[in-house]
Symmetry: C2
Subunit: 211 residues, 2 copies
């Protein structure tokens, strides 16, 4: 039985559902602890006046991330895999059906913290966002290429730590460019707010173009 | 066909092989960029006078980590999975057969950077070492519990960054203790050398007890 084929069918159903409702969905993927949830905690309040958001929060265990985002006064749905290392299209599709789709413009999916498997499973998104923190090392785009190759944009996070870590920013940008010449690269700090405006401007334009 | 059963058989073969040669093998597991390779770059020169090491280096792509460890003048074998998110016992067993086993006392396996899947696959190790950096957040032991539950010890890395990150050390230690009361927890910095002596003392004792 073709498991990847079955996944692709559910992803297609999801694309049809979102197109029908003019909703843009993004699939946020990174290693554990790169700062996905914290980035959403900054992005959503900054944009909530302009765009109606919901979040599908994927984790193995606990509802901690969903609880953090729930505090932002938007619909949040926690998907618990119990051990599976990535979200699949069928699970995401059914979760979407439980959201107030008539009142939404953007759905953000925070995938399970994992630089490997999530990139292999299309969940019907308009685009994947690759998140990489300066603490992880500049070589991640070449050591875990699929995600960075497929992403529509890359966000380098925690740039407030640059003075204290050996991270080679230019080398990282070079690896990102070689893996994916088309994807823009943003540098942000969720702590200080540095780089946030440029990132929010691009994100808003991407959403508008994909609804 | 029972894939997990087949894996268990190869793990058993590996345990027999290592027991026969009085070799202790440890399986180092963590998220991408937690500092596994850098920790080995500090540990191995510090102990190479006392113990004969080899490393099996697991990655999806590139030989970067193997090249870094090769510079330490020990046998290093790079395992490339090409996309698979964890090392399996059969692959590790065949790699071991290519090492100079008669001249070794310790084999360190650096698993694929992934907090989820590697912990599910016994590769015949004497114990798993869970690595977690202060930049990833204190909640990782409860959000990705299997690894921390099964580890014989946990090493909290990059403690030189503590002044600059929101990491709650005591909360992290509490989660580690609740997930695994028996496993000792070490705090180290590969950059400054802080905590390294205590960690090396424990590691040396663990190896001696499992050869
Ligand atoms: N210094 C600094 N730390 C940050 C920044 N953003 C997030 N962090 C910290 O990084 C750690 C992990 O942040 P999270 O947002 O929970 O990371 P995550 O990617 O959602 O983690 P998972 O969902 O478990 O994969 C926390 O301790 C955050 O406070 C930043 O811009 N600068
Ligand atoms: N500040 C600080 N940075 C560190 C420390 N140890 C490692 N790093 C940095 O963390 C980044 C990742 O280190 P690696 O040792 O390559 O991490 P890894 O876990 O082997 O990564 P993968 O094999 O790709 O999963 C690099 O930029 C290192 O220089 C430390 O103790 N302190
Ligand atoms: Mg999160
Ligand atoms: Mg490494
Ligand atoms: Zn997986
Ligand atoms: Zn896996």
């Amino acid at each position: 039985r073709d498991l990847m084929g079955a996944n692709a069918e559910w992803a297609a159903k999801t694309r049809a559902l979102l197109a029908e409702r003019s909703i843009a969905m993004v699939n946020v993927i990174s290693a554990p602890g790169s700062g996905k949830t914290t980035l959403l905690e900054r992005m959503i309040p900054a944009l909530a006046g302009r765009l109606r958001f919901a979040v599908l929060e994927g984790d193995l265990e606990t509802t901690r991330d969903a609880e953090r985002l729930d505090a932002l006064d938007i619909p949040v749905y926690q998907l618990l895999t119990g051990g599976s290392c990535h979200l699949e299209a069928k699970l995401v599709h059914h979760a979407l059906l439980d959201l107030p789709l008539d009142d939404l413009e953007v759905v953000i999916v925070e995938n399970v913290g994992n630089l490997v498997c999530p990139a292999e499973f299309d969940i019907g998104e308009a685009g994947k966002l690759a998140i990489l923190s300066v603490t992880e090392g500049e070589d991640k785009p070449v050591k875990y290429p699929l995600l960075f190759h497929e992403a529509v944009a890359a966000v380098i996070t925690k740039i407030d730590l640059l003075p204290y870590v050996p991270f080679k920013l230019e080398e990282c940008r070079r690896y990102l460019a070689q893996t994916n010449p088309a994807a823009p690269v943003f540098e942000v700090s969720s702590l200080t707010g540095a780089g946030m405006d440029a990132w929010l401007t691009w994100f808003t334009a991407f959403v508008a173009a994909h609804r």
